[in-house]
Amino acid sequence: MQKVTLTLREKNRIPIVADSITPDNFAGLSDRDIEQIPVWHGNSQVFLGDIFEVVVDGSDTAENVVIEINGDVSRIKRIGQGMTAGEIIINGNVDMHCGCTMSGGKITVNGHADNWIGCDMRGGEIEVNGNAKYYVGSGYRGDTTGMTGGKITINGNVLDFLAEHMSGGEIHVKGDAGLLLGLANNGGTIIVDGDATMAAGEMKKGLIVIKGTVHEMLPVYREDGTEEFNGETYRKFTGDVNIRGKGTLLIK
């Protein structure tokens, strides 16, 4: 077990890109080593030690590294990018691209997350105990496959374009979702406990369940009886008919 505690020294406005904050990168490193990892602050390079007070307890391999981040890191991007193992706990709001492309391990955000959390995720787990903004678990610009594996749980609400181009894995939003969630889903599972608007266009395959109200049902799904999901009965829709999709959309 290796515990790394990062405490933000001073809140920044110009974004810091800290894709080096991962258990993989920190495994086996001392506080001095970690302090000397370079990160971009705007167009200049600084070091993690300039940004955070770093305390390391123990030394271990990535799967046994726990990184705890304290302070408002709502202007620090890409925390946990590409991580394969271990754990990150963020006690505060976090900036964009947290946990993007990660393939293993767990990130917990005890605050709100900005856009693109868990984008292009391959595996592992993300839990946000507040809200998240746009493009949770989506693909990046131009890509036609986004999240392919892993699980994202948002305990609050999310904004538009949840899980765009998702092709695997699971997303559970316990609050409401915004516009156009699950666009071009190709095999992922999306569950929204609250409401959603214009859900699930161009779904090829996969499952989308909306437990609350769907505002403005897109005219691209064919009603196909009912289906049970977790002990409850839903109206079942199949589509997107325009791409001969075999996706399932369950709504109340």
């Binding site: 406005r13 110009i14 705007g42 856009n115 493009y135 610009r141 897109l218 005219p219």
Partner: protein
């Protein structure tokens, strides 16, 4: 007297190239064939209040200075910034754009064009689905159906209709307007809608729903379409679909009504998907109604020089692109830039209040021929020649056809291209010194 024929109008993305300009003693004395927008811009070079000299803000007031001083101050601001925003570059030449990109790369800045508040979402839609397009002459020579969706050319592109779309006569369209069906889809009955054959009124923000419904109709999936979609009756939706399927050649011109409304880039994406299916039955293309005369050119140059069409962030020395994060409005709303260079655009007028507030707080350099709301916020103001009137250069029409803009009259003002070149040189000098 000097008569310039086939002159190119530097106003909108129609980039009309048939103007005749008469010049006497370095004064424009006659402008033929321009619309009111183009005429006022070209005539305005001498009529309107120009920024007469470089200005710098001292104790809250803008006071005159020299080009040299203004350029040096501008360079200092950029060199000292951690993340500057370079914005605009849409009413200027491709040559100036190219230099602006080099400056952004050199200073580790973010650079974005007016597409940010205009057709930026169109670009995002192309990333998703591509763009089935054509040059405007294909519409002129072939189209028997033209659909204006969320655009109002009577006001925004006045000569578009006679030169390319509504009235134009071509090889297969000898009857012009008579042989062509015009449909308008909009949230209000615009002046364009008033002269159309079909007007479909859609509820605000429901374009995406309507486009999906038409696509379902095209694909013989009428059964999934409810009786009313976005305020439009099913019957009308089926009529639109039939109209599109039966046309020999159709074009959807789309504007801000699709990009600036709810669902944003998904509307353009949906037009593209609709055409992807429609082309199995009937030839159909889509062309965005671009606003600034060379906002298309910015996209072209930025795309070939950086790999991305706009919203490029060079803070990490390589090109990083992600509208929503690196767009001009995004950076200003988040307040995560510490200086701005604005050229050939007026965010003071055309950005949302929250974004303008950020511009007002940070050091702001403006390059422009005219005093405008951005000037009110600027700390350094560098007057420029009017490109397309006082300086030549390349511009791209809304259909990506390049044209070389002419210079009609001489001026003592520096061109945008020259000003940026000078700033870039000064930046390099300062960096070498540092």
């Amino acid at each position: 007297m000097n008569v310039i024929t086939d002159a190119i109008c530097p106003f909108c993305g129609s980039l009309c190239d048939d103007l005749t300009i008469k010049v006497e003693n370095n004064k424009i004395t006659d402008i033929q064939r321009a619309c009111v927008l183009g005429h006022n811009k070209i005539a305005g070079v001498t009529d309107h209040a120009r920024i007469e000299a470089p200005l710098v803000r001292k104790d809250g007031e803008l006071v005159e200075t020299t080009y040299e001083d203004a350029i040096e101050r501008a360079a200092e601001i950029l060199v000292n910034s951690k993340r500057a925003l370079s914005y605009g570059w849409s009413s200027t030449s491709c040559e100036a754009v190219s230099k602006a990109i080099e400056l952004a790369e050199e200073t580790g800045s973010v650079i974005d064009s007016c597409a940010n508040v205009c057709h930026g979402p169109t670009t995002l839609a192309v990333h998703e689905k591509g763009s089935p397009a054509a040059s405007l002459g294909q519409v002129k020579n072939r189209a028997d159906l033209v659909i204006f969706w969320g655009c109002n050319p009577v006001h925004a592109h006045p000569r578009h209709m006679s030169r390319y779309s509504m009235y134009a006569k071509g090889f297969f369209t000898k009857k012009g307007r008579k042989g062509r069906h015009i449909a308008v889809v909009d949230v209000r009955e615009t002046d364009t809608a008033k002269i159309a054959d079909t007007y479909v009124q859609v509820d605000p923000g429901c374009d995406f729903m309507l486009l999906q419904a038409i696509r379902s109709a095209i694909n013989d999936n009428e059964d999934v379409i409810p009786e009313i979609v976005g305020g439009v009756p099913k019957e009308t939706i089926l009529e639109l679909a039939t109209m599109m399927k039966e046309a020999r050649f159709s074009c959807v011109f789309y504007g801000m009504g699709t990009t600036q409304t709810r669902s944003k880039y998904k509307n353009g994406d949906a037009v593209s998907s609709l055409l992807y299916d429609l082309n199995q039955y009937s030839k159909s293309v889509m062309i965005p109604m671009r606003g600034h005369y060379n906002v298309t050119g910015f996209g072209q140059v930025c795309n070939w020089e950086t790999g991305y069409p706009n919203a490029v962030d060079f803070t990490r020395k390589f090109a990083y692109y992600n509208p929503g994060e690196t767009g001009a409005s995004d950076t200003l709303l988040r307040g995560d830039v510490d200086a701005a260079l604005v050229a050939a655009a007026d965010p003071g007028s055309h950005f949302a209040q929250e974004a303008v507030k950020c511009l007002a707080k940070i050091p702001l350099i403006q390059i422009d021929p005219y005093h405008n709301p951005t000037t009110e916020l600027a700390d350094i103001v560098i007057p420029a020649a009017v490109v397309g009137v006082e300086a030549e250069g390349t511009a791209y029409r809304m259909d990506s056809i390049p044209l070389r803009m002419k210079k009609f009259i001489d001026t003592d003002f520096k061109s945008d291209e020259q000003i940026v070149t000078d700033i870039l040189e000064k930046v390099r000098e300062l960096k070498r010194g540092a």
